[in-house]
């Protein structure tokens, strides 16, 4: 079932300068989608349009078969969660507790149920010990974990990560990636759209969408997309480490064509 379908979407912040040009695609439920592309290729704009933060100019967006309009935007928004890049600028509450509660308050969750929900989702992202801490006392990774808990608590069906790990240190990046994979495992029906510059992450996703200059440049499974290395080089996108390694090995006449991941490659080479 397609949870999100975008048709002929064109959008520009200024007239005659479209950021997105006639984009159409569909996303199936339960998929992990990686949206990659250079800065200014329109990735974040696309995310904001899907989340209903920008007004549509032309084209349509359907969420769970329902057309996104001004009227149903607040209803459909409950199905879409978005985690932004800057950990500081999406921390709304005075403490971790208040921040997770913010979305619940907006969704009119009764006061009595809030504490249980807050504790449940704080535990999911391992922030139980920090519930009463202010944002200044948290690291970037911890703040992003709170942001994830805040989004998860609202029970969305689609979660967009808009470069959610870009401002974190390697440890924080790894942590957040693990939490994303964990919640994907816990709820198979959850659809994740991850906007990223991380080619490795894209390589491990279910489907890759490459945006370039506001147009869909490539689309398909990671194998399909990264197979086309000349086309990727055309827009200066890097290849995943495994792909590069396989290329180099092929050049040396070592047959590693069927290898799917790094582990298999190591095994094969050790034979």
């Amino acid at each position: 079932m397609s949870v999100l379908s975008v048709k002929n979407l064109t959008f520009g912040y200024e007239k005659d300068k479209p950021v997105l040009k006639n984009i159409s695609f569909q996303i199936e439920q339960g998929k992990y989608i990686a949206l990659i592309g250079h800065n200014g290729s329109g990735k974040s704009t696309l995310a904001k349009l899907i989340a209903g933060l920008l007004e549509l100019q032309s084209g349509t967006i359907e969420v769970f078969g329902e057309l996104l309009t001004d009227k149903n935007i607040s209803v459909l928004r409950q199905k879409i969660g978005i985690v932004f890049q800057n950990p500081d600028n999406q921390f709304i509450g005075a403490t971790v507790r208040d921040d997770i509660a913010f979305g619940l308050e907006n969704n009119c969750v009764p006061h009595k149920e809030m504490d249980a929900i807050i504790n449940e989702f704080a535990e999911k992202v391992n922030m139980t010990d920090f519930l009463d801490k202010e944002p200044t006392r948290l690291s970037g990774g911890q703040k992003q974990r709170v942001a994830i808990a805040g989004v998860l608590a609202m029970n969305p069906k689609i979660i967009i990560f808009d470069e959610a790990t870009a401002m974190l240190d390697p440890k924080g990046k790894k942590e957040i990636r693990e939490y994303i994979l964990k919640m994907k495992k816990e709820d198979e029906s959850l659809t994740i759209i991850s906007i990223t510059h991380d080619i490795e992450e894209a390589y491990n996703s279910d489907e890759v969408l490459v945006l370039n200059n506001g147009e869909i440049f490539l689309k398909g499974t990671p194998e399909e997309v990264f197979k086309d290395k000349n086309k990727l080089k055309e827009i200066d996108l890097d290849l995943p480490f495994l792909m590069k390694l396989k290329d180099k090995l092929s050049d040396c006449d070592i047959d590693v064509k069927d290898v799917k991941n790094l582990e298999e490659l190591v095994n094969k080479l050790c034979q």
Binding site: I82, N89, F91, A101, E105, C108, M114, P135, G150
Partner: protein, 286 residues
């Protein structure tokens, strides 16, 4: 940048900390009114000081219960000596009459000038200690809720009380973030050769502008991202929403309310009836 101790919340689990913020705000206003009353007859001025001493003792007791350290108060008062000096100079220059003593046989120092300075100084100290107790025992967020509660009646005349409270709480939330940012920009500009400490007035203004412009730009960027984050999480200022933090009135609050109201009534009576304790006591004795 980090030594801003005025109005900072000090976490502790004292009885005063646990009181309802609405009560604390109300009591503080009562105390403020008490401080601004005048006591005793027109000729005698010691009654003011006796009552202030009495209020000071009560404030000290509250501070002890709240575990607010006296040293913190002194730290804040340190920045006050300049104000006292100016007050003293102004009072000395004011034309006065009554008893005086002479310095160097020429300079007249009126008793009243010294008295007025002490009078204003004591009032200032009392008010500062009161606000310090309030802010160090109440989280800014709780204070915001209290303010919102007091503003509720104004909803009838379409005052957006909830929006005001939300704005205040977000402003409070971003103060430390923006201070960090200020620090970062100052360092960045200093590394590019901007001197914030030395130089003529014009150069200093220029240096400050090089701080303020990037700070403002980044604050606007932040506010846009924050607005997006709030909207994405379903915030709609006009719509109905439930509340996570609910202020609860407890029996301790009622006791505190009765205590502060009776204190207020007592002080008000002393002020209006122009009671003079010295006269009263000597009357009782004789």
């Amino acid at each position: 940048m980090n030594n801003i101790s005025i109005g900072r919340y000090i976490p502790y689990n004292s009885k005063i900390h646990r009181l309802d913020p609405r009560l604390k705000l109300f009591s503080m206003i009562l105390f403020m009114v008490m401080i601004f009353l005048r006591f005793g007859g027109a000729q005698t001025n010691y009654m003011d000081f006796i009552v202030y001493g009495f209020i000071a003792v009560i404030i000290l007791i509250i501070m002890a219960i709240a575990h607010v350290k006296l040293s913190l108060l002194f730290k804040q008062l340190k920045s006050l000596w300049f104000v006292v000096l100016i007050l003293l100079i102004i009072n000395l220059l004011m034309p006065n009459d009554g008893p005086y003593f002479l310095i160097f046989n020429t300079l007249k120092i009126y008793h009243k000038a010294l008295y007025d300075t002490a009078y204003i100084f004591i009032r200032l100290v009392l008010m500062i200690s009161l606000t310090m107790i309030l802010t160090s025992t109440t989280t800014p967020l709780d204070l915001t809720y209290a303010i919102e509660w007091y503003l509720t009646p104004f909803k009838i005349i379409k005052v957006p009380t909830h929006e005001i409270a939300m704005t205040i709480s977000i402003a409070l939330r971003f103060i430390p973030t923006l201070l960090d940012e200020t620090d970062r920009i100052m360092k960045a500009q200093a590394s590019r050769g901007v001197d914030f400490q030395n130089g003529k007035f014009r150069e200093k203004v220029k240096a400050i502008i090089s701080l303020i412009v990037p700070l403002l730009v980044s604050a606007f960027q932040r506010s846009e991202e924050l607005a997006n984050a709030m909207e994405a999480r379903g915030y709609n200022p006009g719509a109905k929403r439930t509340r996570y933090r609910i202020l609860k009135w407890k029996w301790l609050d009622t006791i505190a309310l009765v205590l502060s109201l009776s204190l207020f009534a007592l002080i008000l009576y002393v002020s209006i009836a122009k009671i003079d304790i010295v006269v009263l006591i000597s009357g009782l004795l004789g």
